[in-house]
């Protein structure tokens, strides 16, 4: 693909011990939240990470920022080994990667003014004099479409959409290259979602940002992303450019997800059967392909053998023994 990846993730794994904690209890097992994920992010692109609740997509985002310590695997940001950084170097890294959180109501300290919230990253990293910081705060708040007079107010005085704009201003404060947006619009009204998404697009052009956009909403992802990765039970099952993914999903799970998008005109898309059953417990994932218990196309091989994420033609990768394009043309 085009040039060097900005962020590359290799075999990233995050297991949570599932145990009754204490000295006397041994760990009962492990929740495999993220289970061997490989992913490359290229400068300037928007990568969408989709999947059901609990599939590990947020955990992946938090591992990249070192908010969680991964169990195994590697993360490289440009030429740095993210997982080896400590103290000062880790802090310097965080200048380049910022996060926008899902819930704009809980991601802001209720006791701080907007000025404090937006300016905190500048203070932490000691960027410029007080006057320079103030100028930067003023320009940031305008960039996200708010007024400088909002700066002296408190978060509770704003709506969800405005608060998410404030979060974005804060994330932009350090001029990061990568922004991890963890479900940034799922807590907002649909009418506000479009505004925030458009703001993200504008900002990307203005500041050459790379986005890792985590969402469970395929229509939102479609609006924004260049490439999309589908996660299931801690694993990436398909990575494809947007157009290919939406027109011809290769993994049965992707197809089922697309089929679950509600449409106004029911005839527009062929009705697919809803996915049977629930996602298996990540504590005890099924052997073979993690998706086989719910898959309509499962064969014997799927119950025995784990499919690897292999690149196919036209720059997509699928983790399936029998990708859909091969044996089901429709």
């Amino acid at each position: 693909m085009k040039n060097k990846p900005l962020l590359s993730i290799r075999q990233l794994t995050k297991y949570y011990p599932a145990s009754r904690k204490g000295w006397l209890h041994k760990t009962a097992g492990q929740v495999k939240a993220v289970d061997g994920v490989d992913l490359d992010l290229y400068p300037g692109e928007t990568f969408g990470l989709v999947g059901e609740s609990g599939c590990g997509k947020s955990t992946l985002g938090r591992c990249i920022l070192r908010l969680e310590a991964p169990t195994a695997g590697g993360i490289r940001f440009k030429d740095q080994d993210v997982l080896a950084l400590e103290g000062h170097a880790l802090r310097a890294l965080r200048q380049n990667m910022q996060m926008v959180f899902q819930d704009p109501y809980s991601s802001q300290n209720p006791r701080h003014t907007i000025r404090h919230i937006v300016g905190e990253p500048l203070k932490i990293h000691g960027m410029g004099s007080n006057a320079e910081q103030e100028a930067r705060i003023q320009s940031l708040i305008k960039t996200v479409g708010m007024q400088p007079e909002h700066l002296d107010r408190y978060p509770h005085e704003f709506s969800g959409g405005q608060r998410q704009r404030i979060c974005i201003a804060r994330a932009l404060a350090l001029n990061p290259q990568l922004i991890i947006a963890d479900e940034p619009v799922s807590a907002l009204d649909v009418s506000i979602q479009a505004q925030i998404l458009n703001l993200l697009v504008t900002l990307q052009e203005e500041f050459q940002l790379t986005y890792l956009f985590i969402s469970h909403d395929l229509s939102v992802v479609r609006h924004l992303c260049d490439r999309i990765g589908v996660m299931y039970l801690g694993k990436l099952v398909e990575i494809a450019p947007r157009r290919e993914l939406y027109t011809a999903p290769a993994h049965p799970y992707t197809r089922a997800l697309l089929g679950a998008i509600p449409t106004i005109t029911a005839s527009r898309r062929k009705r697919l059967d809803p996915l049977p059953g629930d996602m298996p417990s990540p504590l005890n994932p099924p052997p073979g392909c993690p998706f086989h218990p719910r898959c309509a196309f499962k064969q014997d091989r799927c119950t025995r053998e784990k499919p690897a994420l292999v690149p196919t033609s036209d720059g997509r990768s699928v983790a399936c023994h029998f990708p859909l394009s091969e044996f089901s043309a429709g």
Binding site: L67, L90, D103, Y105, S107, Q108, E157
Partner: protein
């Protein structure tokens, strides 16, 4: 959302506080006691230690407004000076308990793991003593006197504050705004001082005010038992104690300081309740 609401209401908190007559009564009582303590030399009509042997156990509303005790010392003056001891001990012990409790609670709640277990077992140990016994043991160990009484009461109150703070810290540290601060590169010190402490401080302050009443009673109890402040320093507990031999002949010697303790405890309780209602919108529903 409650946190935002709490903050919104903070601006109106003073107004709400002043609207509640009981809180105002509490505030007036506490302010009166404080003024007495601060201006004791000006307000007291006599030297509290001066003995007027001809006026032993004289009745109130005679030569002395509140009468005199068994050595002929003016009870009003001793009461006013006694407020000093009560307040010093109450404030001092709360400061010790708050400082220690916040330190232990924050370290324990923020660090978690073994550190948390170790500190909390230590607090459990302190809590498992009957409170008076603990204070007696501490005073016996350190010796009596204003400072040691304060220390003993402070240590006695410390575990309660530590637990309260720990629980708040444990819930706050998982809030998204703390994660957001960490993602921005904030150090643990910054997170604790800028994000965690300001968000739990108001309920702790309310509880501390309510606790002042307990501290005053505790000081009186210790002084009554002769373990607290030593004569001739006037203290309300010691005054009750010294009058108990003449309870039949001169009840005012014991009952007047008893009444003062009651008023002080009432004042701090009303003030604390008022602060709680004013700061916590959830309590306001039927108020």
């Amino acid at each position: 959302m409650t946190d935002e609401k709490k903050f919104l209401d903070r601006h109106k908190a003073l107004k709400r506080f002043l609207k509640n007559p009981l809180s105002v009564v509490g505030l007036v009582l506490v302010v009166t006691i404080t003024v007495c303590a601060l201006a004791a030399p000006v307000l007291a009509p006599h030297d509290p230690a001066e003995q007027h042997l001809f006026d032993k156990r004289s009745k109130p509303f005679g030569k002395y407004v509140l009468g005199a005790d068994q050595f002929g010392r003016d009870i009003l003056s001793r009461l006013i000076y006694g407020a000093r001891v009560s307040l010093i001990v109450a404030v001092g012990s709360i400061v010790i308990a708050l400082a220690g409790g916040i330190l232990v609670g924050v370290v324990s709640g923020y660090a978690g793991g073994f550190c948390d277990s170790a500190l909390m077992r230590l607090m459990d140990l302190l809590l498992s003593f009957p409170y008076l016994l603990l204070a007696i043991v501490l005073v016996t160990a350190f010796g009596s006197g204003v400072f040691n009484t304060t220390l003993a009461i402070g240590i006695w109150a410390l575990p309660t504050f530590a637990r309260m703070v720990r629980v708040s810290v444990m819930s706050l540290k998982n809030r998204e705004f703390v994660t957001s601060a960490r993602a921005a590169g904030a150090s643990s010190a910054r997170i604790i001082f800028s994000h965690i402490i300001p968000n739990f401080v108001s309920p702790v302050i309310v509880y501390a005010t309510l606790f002042m009443a307990n501290a005053i009673m505790m000081e009186a109890a210790l002084s009554f038992l002769g373990l607290g402040v030593q004569p001739p320093t006037p203290s309300w507990g010691e005054m009750i104690s010294s009058g108990r031999n003449f309870l039949m002949v001169a009840p005012h010697v014991s009952t007047i300081p008893g009444f003062a303790i009651m008023v002080a405890v009432l004042g701090f309780n009303l003030l604390g309740d008022g602060l709680r209602d004013a700061l916590d919108p959830k309590m306001k529903v039927n108020g």
